[in-house]
């Protein structure tokens, strides 16, 4: 596939027709036959389906009898396309290759908000499950009417409906006879019994990996269109700096291949037919631009102390019993402060957007994680009606959070609006991504707890200081980077969603007296959602303190955690982890540490162990092995869950041991992989993941669960190996040495 052909005149319906899609229609019939045992009925429909209950919004039957599933979620590398196809194939008794999945596109797929928070299985997959099961009921009902029999007399297999003891066969397409499905999914819906599953719970391979190894065009970075030109954005040296002057004449004289310069306030972009000429134009433009000074940054200061002194909006998260006993100076209390720096998403491929403004409609191909809320914000920024902005979700480089995707697409859109009829491909340079993406907030945590005479935790007090954790577009221009710099700017919105700051701030243990406070500050750097939000830092603090308390109580760290746990699923993952590491030997300079958390305290359970070796002379920490046990409820795709969990362990190890955004008093100075190193092959531990499946329970997201306990498992292991408690991330050799 060399070129992506595209005709912007396509209406949705034409598009469907052109692909030979037959949509289904019939009046909703009585479904008294849809008897279902109470165990198969749910009280309510899954979230996304409640918002969009129309069956044809989720499913289309194609003329060849296959089914297309439409979802509003994006492929981020988590394998959502495969998991969704498994669920649809299961409920409709289709073979796996009879299902295709169409991802996030405005006015084409349901609006499912953001692909975030490990919510794609709980919302999207469950919506597809109910929609597919409902469609199955309707298809059987139509067939029963056609053959004047009862649905119970029919069987459905690989897209064909047959009558018991008879030879007649009807495909889904034949059954529907060119009609359209217009019904809404309504309860009761009879779901397939888990013991009959063909696909759900199995390690069904992702089909897109073969496309990747064959170098097919699957990323937004790979899009090519006739007449497409290349743009680069020219950003100031630092946030808040303004463009004072730009010597366009001198610049143009230096860049003979320039097609266009787009200037709107401080927004500056250059365009050339050839991509490398656009890159050269960007370099030259930087030399011809004069910028004002930016507001100073607290470079060179102790950031851990700095963020705790910022003005903060404080809130009580939880207050149970009394925590006054913690203030008694009787030596039964353990208290410690923790810190996590600003960290990057650090996508390997810098963000990219492709945009075309044609016939009054702006088309944008983007790897945004939320096409509808982004569309609405972009439309407002450009003064267009939302219907005139068409966003096509196209995979990009992995991000696991809000990286530069929306901003690069916004930059491309601004250039496209200035060059109607010309497709614009705008990719950020590496330093654009490193310096301008929204980071995960720096956070400070203070934890203290008291043991009773039996060595059990009687009191716990915890406070967390954090900036917000979601400044995604949220239908507002003020969250789009370029919007702040236009001649008529939209002011930057801050503190979008603070809930992420105290995510997992409550220990998932039985503690009678508990007090948790959260302090929201607006920090010096741009921030937004990074994988697991505040859970990573909060669990780092909580599970470090649990280790210190276990030591004080003279108990085994795992036994100490089990003694404070009553949830059988929490106990099960910890005991399984214990089995996995049983018999693992450690040399004198090695140690094994562990940690546990239940993501968001309502989602997946995860216990992690790490084995490290410490060189006490150099302070070098080598992670030898890691283990994780995960309970994500019902498993949809076993290998997908394992892949995600392995990735969490490795990525969070990189965060914990290596990563910290650096800045001086003027600007970000970690603008490449040398100044912001991430983990490399020679440092990556071998990882082992076990999954506990609960086929009869709801599935829970698995994409972030192991992120949170990893940091604590590592620092607890370092303590065992070296006697050094690390409370300030990332781990520095100077904190380990000696």
């Amino acid at each position: 596939m060399k070129e992506v052909s595209y005709n912007p005149q396509f209406s949705r319906r034409k598009f469907i027709n052109s692909l030979g899609c037959l949509t289904i229609s019939f009046s909703l019939l009585g479904n008294a036959w849809a008897e279902a045992g109470p165990s198969l009925l749910e009280e309510t429909l899954p979230g996304s389906l409640r918002h969009q209950p129309r069956l044809d919004a989720w499913l289309e039957v194609l003329s060849d009898g296959r089914v297309r599933v439409l979802i509003g979620k994006m492929e981020l590398g988590q394998g959502v396309r495969t998991a969704i196809a498994q669920v649809a194939a299961e409920e409709l008794d289709l073979s796996f290759d009879q299902v295709e999945v169409h991802l996030a596109e405005t006015e084409r797929t349901p609006n499912e908000g953001y692909t975030a928070g490990s919510g794609s299985m709980e919302n999207s997959a469950m919506s597809v499950r109910y929609a597919a099961a409902f469609a199955r009921q309707q298809l059987l009902e139509i067939a029963a009417q056609r053959w004047q029999t009862q649905p119970e007399q029919l069987t459905m297999n690989n897209g064909k409906v047959t009558q018991k003891g008879k030879k007649q066969i009807l495909t889904f397409a034949q059954l529907l006879d060119g009609n359209q499905l217009q019904g809404e999914v309504k309860l009761p819906v009879k779901l397939k019994a888990p013991e009959t599953y063909r696909y759900v719970g199995k390690a069904v391979p992702r089909t897109d990996i073969e496309q990747m190894v064959r170098a097919q065009a699957i990323y937004v970075q790979d899009l090519r269109m006739p007449g497409m030109v290349h743009a680069r954005v020219v950003r100031p040296p630092a946030h808040g700096a303004k463009l004072l002057s730009f010597d366009e004449q001198a610049f143009a004289a230096k860049v003979p291949n320039l097609l266009k310069t787009v200037i709107d306030g401080t927004f500056l972009a250059v365009v050339a037919a050839d991509e490398y000429q656009a890159i050269l134009a960007r370099q030259s433009a930087l030399e011809h631009a004069r910028w004002s000074d930016a507001p100073p940054l607290p470079g060179g200061q102790d950031l851990a102390g700095y963020i705790r002194k910022l003005p903060a909006k404080s809130q009580k998260v939880l207050d149970r019993g009394s925590t006054e006993a913690l203030d008694q100076p009787d030596g039964k209390t353990v208290k410690a402060s923790f810190f996590k720096p600003y960290q990057m998403h650090g996508s390997i491929g810098p963000s990219c957007g492709v945009a075309l403004y044609k016939d009054g409609t702006l088309h944008v191909w983007t790897h945004s994680q939320g096409i509808y809320p982004f569309r609405d914000g972009l439309a407002k920024m450009l003064g267009l009606e939302p219907e005139k902005v068409h966003l096509i979700g196209t995979p990009g480089s992995g991000c696991y959070g809000h990286n530069g995707a929306d901003d690069a697409a916004t930059d491309a859109a601004l250039v496209a609006m200035a060059m109607p009829g010309t497709p614009i491909r705008l990719q950020w340079m590496r330093e654009d991504e490193h310096a301008w993406e929204p980071y995960g907030s720096a956070m400070g945590m203070e934890a203290e707890a008291r043991l009773d005479e039996h060595g059990k935790i009687s009191h716990w007090r915890y406070a967390v200081w954090s900036d917000g954790h979601s400044n995604r577009p949220n239908s507002q221009p003020g969250n789009l980077l370029a919007a702040w710099y236009l001649a008529k700017p939209f002011p930057q919105l801050t503190m979008g969603y603070f809930g992420g700051g105290y995510r997992n701030s409550e220990p998932y243990y039985d503690i009678p007296n508990l007090r948790i406070d959260a302090h929201a500050f607006v920090g010096p750097l741009r921030v937004s959602s990074l994988r697991s939000l505040g859970a990573y830092a909060n669990i780092f603090a909580i599970e470090s303190l649990m280790d210190e308390l276990a030591e004080k109580a003279q108990q085994d760290p795992l036994a100490f955690r089990l003694a404070h746990s009553t949830d059988p699923r929490a106990i099960a993952v910890m005991k399984k982890l214990e089995k996995m590491i049983e018999g693992e030997k450690t040399a004198p300079n090695e140690g094994i540490g562990l940690a546990f958390s239940r993501y968001k305290n309502v989602a997946s359970y995860c216990a992690v162990a790490a084995k490290v070796a410490v060189d006490k002379n150099s302070g070098v920490v080598k992670v030898r092995r890691m283990w994780a046990v995960l309970d994500a409820g019902q498993v949809i795709n076993l290998d997908g869950i394992i892949n995600q969990t392995e990735g969490c362990l490795i990525q969070a190890t990189s965060w914990t041991l290596k990563e910290e955004v650096g800045f001086d008093q003027q600007q970000i100075n970690t603008r490449d992989w040398t100044s912001y190193p991430i983990i490399r092959y020679t440092e990556v531990p071998n990882v082992e993941v076990a999954v506990i499946d609960h086929p009869d329970l709801e599935p829970l997201g698995a994409g972030e669960a192991a992120q949170a306990p990893t940091a604590a498992a590592l620092v607890n292991a370092i303590y065992r190996a070296s006697g050094k408690r690390i409370r300030h991330l990332p781990v520095k050799s100077s904190d380990v040495v000696g």
């Binding site: 590398g77 990747m212 590496r430 990735g647 990556v684």
Partner: protein, 155 residues
């Protein structure tokens, strides 16, 4: 400024009219419309733009295209047989499901092919050293190591 540059890529000779200082990466992606090599960092530290140059895995993001004359370049597109059969390394990546987002996969595959070209049975330490120039953000390293081991066994 622009001149004709002759390139040998994936067994075919191409003449491209281009600014001769243009790094190979952009010519492969834009003039030859190949998707394998990806822009990642532009300074040869992440490996996502790797190609085989006379059998060695090298980054393509800085090296001027004009210096490629007489060289034999192979991209990800050039690994599979003409009948579409995947190279053992490609096939091993599929079997091990050794990707998440897959953006870095190009460089990983090219580095692995070059490694196995010079060392048919690398041990784990040699595989790690052979891939150490390549960054992955999703954390698929251990799967990729398994894929290279599988490819070595099936080669």
């Amino acid at each position: 400024m622009e001149k004709d540059v002759i390139l040998r890529v994936n067994g075919k000779t191409h003449t491209v009219r281009v600014d001769p200082v243009t790094p190979l990466l952009y010519v492969l992606r834009n003039q030859l419309e190949l998707n394998g090599p990806k822009y990642g960092c532009g300074i040869e530290v992440c490996g996502s733009c790797m190609v085989l140059m006379d059998g060695q895995a090298v980054p393509s993001c800085r090296i001027p295209v004009v210096e490629m004359a007489g060289r034999d370049i192979v991209t990800l597109e050039g690994l599979a047989a003409s009948d579409g059969k995947l190279h053992p390394v490609q096939s091993a990546f599929v079997k091990e499901q050794a990707a998440q987002c897959g953006y870095c996969l190009n460089g990983m595959v090219m580095a692995a092919v070059a490694l196995l070209g010079s060392n048919k049975k690398p041990d784990e330490t040699e595989i790690r050293a052979g891939l150490d120039r390549n960054l992955c953000r999703c954390g698929t390293h251990t799967r990729i190591i398994k894929a290279v081991q599988r490819a070595a066994n099936e080669f």
